[in-house]
Amino acid sequence: MFKKTWGVVYFMNMQQMIKQLQEFWSSQGCVLVQPYDTEKGAGTLNPMTFLRALGPEPWKAAYVEPSRRPADGRYGENPNRLYQHHQFQVILKPVPENIQEIYLDSLKALGLDPLQHDIRFVEDNWENPTFGAAGLGWEVWVDGMEATQFTYFQQVGSMDVEPVSVELTYGLERLALYIQDKENVYELEWVDGVKYGDVFQQPEYEHSKYTFEISDKEWLFQLFDQYEREAKRALEENLVFPAYDYALKCSHTFNLLDARGAISVTERTGYIGRVRNLSRRIARAYIEEREKLGFPLLKDKGGESK
């Protein structure tokens, strides 16, 4: 179905890669959800991971997540760094006993035969202090390239999680550069005849310019306060998902301000603490609300789930 690019790698455009991964994880029983519509810095922050990782209910999901990292914006000029990149995100709770083997099969689905490559699990522990999330795991190397972040969540929303979830985050651009044997993301083929740059170069430039030169600091500071206030108001009504949306807005606003150099060293900890507080309260509220609903996904109340 696919043509070899170099040596033993099959050429896939980005769309095909995404389809292969969706197909693979769908066959593993994952719910294929869609990218979430609020700005976020990583696929982990999609509520389908952040919230669903909490509590006792089993959960399997996979999705593409466009992730915004304002500080990494490079005006569309850097071959590797982007304001917005794409992650393919998988979360599995509880963790299948053979999760590493399943994951390695997903690489085969991308045409990466382990016998023809060097695949290794190299220690890399992940944390996101702003959202009180941390886990242990590896970055998976394919011939020295970080193909995936492989993490066993230990804490989410500043709470120990039980059962533990495993999160797999594939860096799609990086994988595509490898598979398509390109040196510059903008040269990647999204589909036949449409390059990554055709789709994303203009937004990359404009977002970078906006972030570093144009954004209105004062207004963003006000937004942060307002989003925080609204998140708290929603929380008082036990509306977890709306509250979480505003926590994400706070986080993105903070990232914009930070990239703009508007947040001094001494203020930083304070802002991060405010988002962490929100996320902690939201995490607790989520579990409470799920409990009120009787943990609906916990179909086998004996505790074991398929």
Partner: protein, 693 residues
């Protein structure tokens, strides 16, 4: 007794390389200690480890525990025996409690009293039964700096997926973390298969057949020989960083070294940057030509065989290209950043919570370095010192150091030279971080040394000033290493004229002026002095200076570490002299009485006994000698100066009663002793010196 080999393999998802050696060492130690504790005889302990397994093989483990012979003491015979010589109720009770009958009890005398004893014989149980009970505890007792959960509450370094436990050919079905041990182990992730192990002895060979080299040494040596092979084939030199070799050894089960290349244009970037990029990001070994020039090649070690090796090399080259492009981008960008601009950014880099920014430190460091240079009379160019101190941290604001913190100082030197700074100034930016670890070089030039001393002392004193001191194994800011660095510098020839106490005082002074002391100033200085005394003690212990001699010299004046060590060596030389004991006794006796003295000055007119006069004269002669010795910086002569007084001291104590009723006379006598002690204690606290009785 019959015995078998015991094998325990803990099959894991990839254990972080840095924890493997420690983990498997613990496993061996703890299992062997557990066997001993449970009276199970055993032979040699051998450990094996790969990223996916922690294994211990213990030879010749007894099949049964040794019997346990125990003697339990019961009541005294006068209570255990009835007057007619029969056994009392108490004796019967004691026997019953120990599962014996009274006729099995024995009598024995202990310290003049006769007691009844029960001789207990507990036959040893089967080792297998003990293992089933004990091994789970042994595994659970392994300690890791970081642990995780993956299914239930069990914690381990990474998820455990299988267990093997063989006692000879017998499977011991130990249960732990929801797993039951069997004889099935897993081979190399891609090249091997799951196989059934037959006996512990065949462990290494059976795994080798599945592309797993379980023996750590064998793997390390194989990698080394593959590197040597590449060196020979290509006429290269591959410098092997030991830490990197250890890490790579623990990233693979079946190593195959290969090389790749990168564009020679990157060689324009400083070699430290290239080497660090390759090592930190990719775990590659750099390649040099025979003269030590870096070549545009790298060597990496793959976890697998040579199948598809050209793809692996090509893939790694591609990854490295992006990394080097990044590094060169940082380098080029950094070069565009004027030093003053970088320096201004330091105000935004937090040094430590409560202690302000890195920028805040610069002024303090410069001031302390200047004070130190003046006090030590060091021939430094003042304007260069000022400049070097002012820009010693500017590279912390560069992108390269942001990416690779370990290049701090090194990049600063490169960039400073590129910006046309004076060569000595540029060198000082690098040197002031030295020594970075025990055994590292110390600064070779005065500028780097002075700034380094000031920088390190500011860090330590600032931390002490807010009440943060290293305790036990806790030293998050590496203050012990910094203090050891200061001692190392002060011991090196160019810096021996600098005073430790003056350095402490100057640093604390700056912090006080900046309002950064939360702890009382005198307390900070006292704690700092103690902290440094401990570092100095460690240095002297390493030199095999006797413990009591170390205590003695550390009880003296602490300003000049090199001088303290030389004094300790003088005392070590005295230990063989018979007269030394007499000298120490004299000084100690004087010191003990002198402790009772107040601040009355000595008045020669009040001396009544000729021995007082002669001691006073001896003291004055000693002082003259002392001053001369001091000028000559000669600790041996200092000690000789003290020796002058010894005959007079003993004569004095033979003839003079110090604690007389007449207050004026008594105070005058104590004052004389106090003066002597102020001289001897400047050398050492002699009372610590111990003589075998």
């Amino acid at each position: 007794m019959s015995e078998r080999d015991l094998l325990l393999e803990i099959g894991c998802e990839e254990v972080p390389a840095r924890f493997i050696d420690g983990a498997v060492q613990q496993l061996g130690d703890k299992l062997s200690a557990w066997l001993t504790e449970n009276r199970i005889q055993h032979g040699a302990v051998k450990t094996y480890a790969t990223p996916r397994r922690l294994t211990v093989l213990i030879h010749a483990v007894a099949e049964k525990q040794a019997d346990k012979e125990e003697e339990v003491r019961g009541p005294a015979a006068r209570i255990a025996k009835t007057p007619d010589g029969g056994w009392s109720k108490a004796a019967e009770g004691f026997a019953r409690k120990n599962g014996l009958t009274v006729d099995q009890l024995t009598l024995k005398e202990v310290k003049g009293e006769t007691y009844v004893f029960a001789q207990l014989h507990q036959p040893g149980e089967e080792t297998v039964a003990q293992l089933l009970k004990g091994l789970p505890e042994v595994i659970s007792s392994l300690h890791f700096p970081k642990t995780m959960r993956w299914n239930d509450r069990t914690r381990f370094i990474r998820p455990v997926r299988w267990l093997v436990c063989l006692f000879g050919e017998e499977v011991v079905p130990v249960e732990w973390a929801g797993l039951k041990a069997g004889n099935l182990t897993r081979g190399h992730r891609f090249l091997g298969q799951e196989i059934a192990l037959t006996t512990p002895e065949r462990y290494v060979e059976d795994l080798r057949g599945q592309y797993v080299l379980a023996d750590v040494e064998e793997r390390r040596n194989l990698i080394l020989s593959q590197l040597r092979q590449l060196e020979e084939t290509h006429n290269w030199k591959i410098p092997v960083d030991k830490g990197l070799l250890d890490e790579v050894t623990h990233l693979v089960e079946y190593p195959t070294a290969f090389y790749g290349t990168f564009s020679a244009e990157y060689l324009a970037v400083p070699r430290e940057v290239l080497i660090t990029t390759m090592r930190e990001h990719q775990r590659y070994f750099p390649v040099e030509d025979r003269s030590g020039q870096l070549l545009p090649f790298f060597v990496a070690v793959r976890n697998g065989d040579s199948n598809g090796l050209e793809n692996v090399a090509k893939g790694n080259e591609k990854v490295l290209r992006a990394r080097l492009a990044d590094a060169r981008f940082f380098y080029d960008e950094d070069l565009k950043l004027p030093i003053e601009e970088a320096n201004a950014k330091l105000a935004n880099i937090v040094y430590q919570e409560e202690l302000g920014s890195v920028g805040d430190r610069i002024g303090r460091i410069g001031e302390v370095a200047r004070i130190l240079a003046e006090q030590g009379g060091l021939p430094v160019d003042r304007s260069k010192l000022d400049r070097a101190a002012a820009i010693c941290k500017f590279d912390l604001a560069t992108q390269m150091v942001g990416e690779f913190p370990e290049l701090e100082g090194i990049m600063g030197s490169h960039y400073a030279l590129a910006h046309g700074e004076d060569a000595e100034v540029a060198k000082a930016i690098h040197e002031h971080y030295l020594p970075r670890f025990a055994g590292d070089d110390v600064p070779q030039h005065l500028l780097g040394g002075l700034i380094g001393l000031a920088d390190k002392m500011d860090a330590i004193a600032a931390s002490f000033g807010i009440g943060i001191q290293p305790t036990g194994s806790q030293d998050p800011y590496g203050l012990r290493r910094k203090a050891a660095g200061i001692v190392q510098i002060l011991l090196s020839p160019s810096f021996q004229s600098l005073s430790l106490t003056a350095l402490i005082e100057a640093a604390v002074d700056q912090l006080a002026q900046a309002g950064l002391l939360k702890v009382e100033r005198l307390e900070v200085e006292r704690d700092l002095l103690q902290f440094f005394a401990l570092r100095l003690k460690a240095v002297m212990q390493e030199m095999e200076i006797r413990y009591d001699v170390i205590e003695a010299v550390l009880g003296g004046e602490l300003s000049y570490p090199a001088f303290i060590i030389r004094k300790a060596q003088v005392l070590m030389d005295q230990l063989d002299r018979d007269a030394f004991k007499l000298e120490v006794e004299g000084f100690t006796r004087v010191a003990n009485l002198a402790a009772k003295a107040d601040d009355t000055a000595v008045t020669a007119d009040l001396f009544a006994d000729p021995a007082e006069h002669s001691l006073y004269e001896a003291l004055n002669r000693a002082k003259t000698e002392w001053e001369r010795a001091k000028e000559n910086d000669d600790p041996g002569a200092l000690y000789h100066a003290l020796m002058i007084m010894v005959p007079e001291i003993h004569q004095y104590f033979d003839q003079v009663m110090v604690m007389v009723d007449d207050e004026t006379v008594r105070k005058n006598r104590l004052a004389l002793l106090r003066e002597i002690t102020s001289l001897t204690s400047a050398f050492a606290a002699f009372e610590h010196v111990v003589f075998p009785s």
